[in-house]
């Protein structure tokens, strides 16, 4: 089956005063129809830049984006417009992505209007109800809503054209825990109900685990490990994935005391000055001579793909069993 979305060697270089910064560096990735893929990593890993390129808010420097068999890399904004039906994005900050002077109805209908289509009132009201708001909210303004409700408006707008792929860029990270769970559940329910594919971008690996079936871990513009959720969380093979999981505080004091943590040295490196060889080697507890010179390629190891010369094969436990 052809994938819904295919990235080949996707690259983005930003030119800054301090020189060229390669934010995304030759990314290969496939997303199947109806699939949820989590794109995780720390700041500067290129996950958001990737998301923006997918929906063509940013133009790639090199590489190819294929959507539903069609090369959309060089498509003009005009031609892209008809693709917007199928390809939508949800942003992190619900308020800054909603025009404060427009009513909810006008905001939600915008993607349809942009294509010269009609957006009947009852359809917009249906969308509002689908995302857990009320039909009566249609004539209100964004400031009348809480953060969680505003994010629901953003979701309704993304879904009104019945897209097949939605890029969700940190959709719950600005929300309080109790609200975050509401929105994460909503996104999961809508995915099942509408048979959507998500590229779910997040720094929070716990949220991703509850929403995504497949996970890609990024470090400095590249994928270092990609595989099914249970494989990535249950037996991560890249030392970075292990360190990342082991750094996350668990809401369980006994487990926190008992667990052994891998504490990485230093900060994530700057994409403006990437280390030679494996980008992770300066912080890696397994780094050897080869890692400093030779960049590892993504290779199939025990049911996932991992870019590491010395992948971890030993059992992995987040915390010892109680």
């Amino acid at each position: 089956m052809t994938p819904l979305l295919k990235l080949d060697g996707l690259t983005k270089t930003f030119h800054t005063r301090r020189g060229a910064v390669r934010a995304v560096d030759g990314l290969d990735l496939e997303v199947r129809a109806g699939e949820t893929l989590g794109l995780v990593g720390e700041s500067g890993c290129g996950k958001s830049t990737t998301g923006r390129m997918l929906v063509r808010l940013l133009d790639p420097t090199a590489g190819r984006i294929t959507f539903d068999g069609q090369d959309i890399t060089g498509l003009s904004q005009r031609r892209m417009r008809s693709l917007r039906h199928d390809l939508q994005i949800i942003f992190q900050d619900p308020f800054s992505s909603l025009n404060p002077r427009h009513t909810v109805g006008s905001i939600v209908a915008a993607p349809l209007r942009a294509q010269g289509e009609e957006a009947p009132r009852h359809l917009v009201q249906e969308m509002l109800e689908l995302v857990g708001l009320g039909a009566e909210h249609i004539d209100r303004y964004p400031h009348e809503f809480s953060g969680g409700q505003a994010q629901r408006i953003g979701i309704a707008r993304a879904l009104v054209s019945r897209p097949r792929l939605v890029v969700a860029d940190e959709p719950v990270s600005a929300l309080d825990v109790s609200i975050q769970a509401q929105i994460a559940n909503l996104l999961a329910r809508l995915q099942r109900q509408l048979d959507l594919a998500y590229v779910f971008i997040a720094h929070d690996l716990a949220v991703v685990r509850h929403v995504c079936a497949r996970v890609a871990v990024m470090y400095l513009g590249r994928i270092v490990e990609i595989g099914a959720r249970d494989v990535i969380y249950g037996s991560p093979a890249h030392p970075y994935t292990r360190a990342l999981l082991s750094a996350i505080p668990l809401p369980d004091p006994a487990a926190e005391r008992a667990r052994e943590r891998i504490v990485l040295r230093g900060d994530p490196p700057s994409p403006a000055d990437p280390p030679a060889g494996c980008a992770f080697h300066p912080r890696c507890f397994k780094a050897a001579a080869r890692c400093r010179t030779e960049r590892p390629r993504l290779t199939e190891v025990n049911g996932r793909r991992v870019a590491c010369h010395f992948p971890e094969l030993s059992p992995f436990e987040l915390a010892p069993p109680a």
Binding site: D176, A181, D204, H210, L245, P249, P251, L264
Partner: protein
Amino acid sequence: MSLLTVRDLTVEFTGPKGTARAVDGLSFTVDEGRTLGIVGESGSGKSVTSLAIMGLHDRARVTGSIDVAGTEVVGAGREEIRALRGRRVAMIFQDPLSSLHPHYRVGEQIAEARRLHFGASRRAAHKHAVQLLADVGIPDPGERAGDYPHQFSGGMRQRVMIAMALACEPDLLIADEPTTALDVTVQAQILELIATIQRERGLAVLMITHDLGVVARVADDVLVMYAGRAVERADVDALFAEPRHPYTRGLLGSLPRLTGPAGELTPIAGTPPSPLTPAAGCPFHPRCPDRIATCETVRPDLEGTSHQAACHLTATKKVTP
């Protein structure tokens, strides 16, 4: 011995839309060498509380009592508070740039407090600053002391701020979301640093956070806040093992986790309350799955001895915790 005693603290802000009670009758203590985690969502009053302890509310109406190592903060004069702030209590924030001056070398900024409060000579204060930078894990501290804040990464800046906080050997360190803006691998480093410093210097720490994982990692005791009030207080193990307040249970249920079932989460219904329009009775009752008629009219107080909850149901044992 308790180093910080807060009694019946209330903080109110008055604006064009009316008066908002951000903190409402809050009481707690922090003992020497212990870490109290204050956890709550936005608007719960946790940060307002920490600023009140630092005497940083100019425009708010603050009542009640805040005793820091024998000195009363509420109603104290400017000079008294300044002396306290430098010497007994130090605070680190989520954003280190907001408390570091962009135009001064970090070494000078750390040394300044030492000269001010200890009357140290320029040379001695500088030497001390370099030592502190080494203590908090800054490589090449002698050289880095001459750098400006923007020359440090986020994690290193947080270390600089911790060094500055330690300059006057405080007894109490208030950390307000110190790792929220940091990447998780850097967060782990900073939490470890705070724990080490506390162990070595016997500090009392007030850790203010929205993250129950951070609380589980660093706190000895936990205070859960909702709508300006304490709704539960317990030692960290008891709080996570048998949460007694429906809000605490709701928070724990809504947390996405790295282990256990990966399916649907159990969110708390509704939205957090506005301090401008507080609910009558228990502030949590509009969102509470277990509420009874009493909850709508009578405001519950913290009940219990070592493990306390402000809930009519827990108090009357109608719900087994």
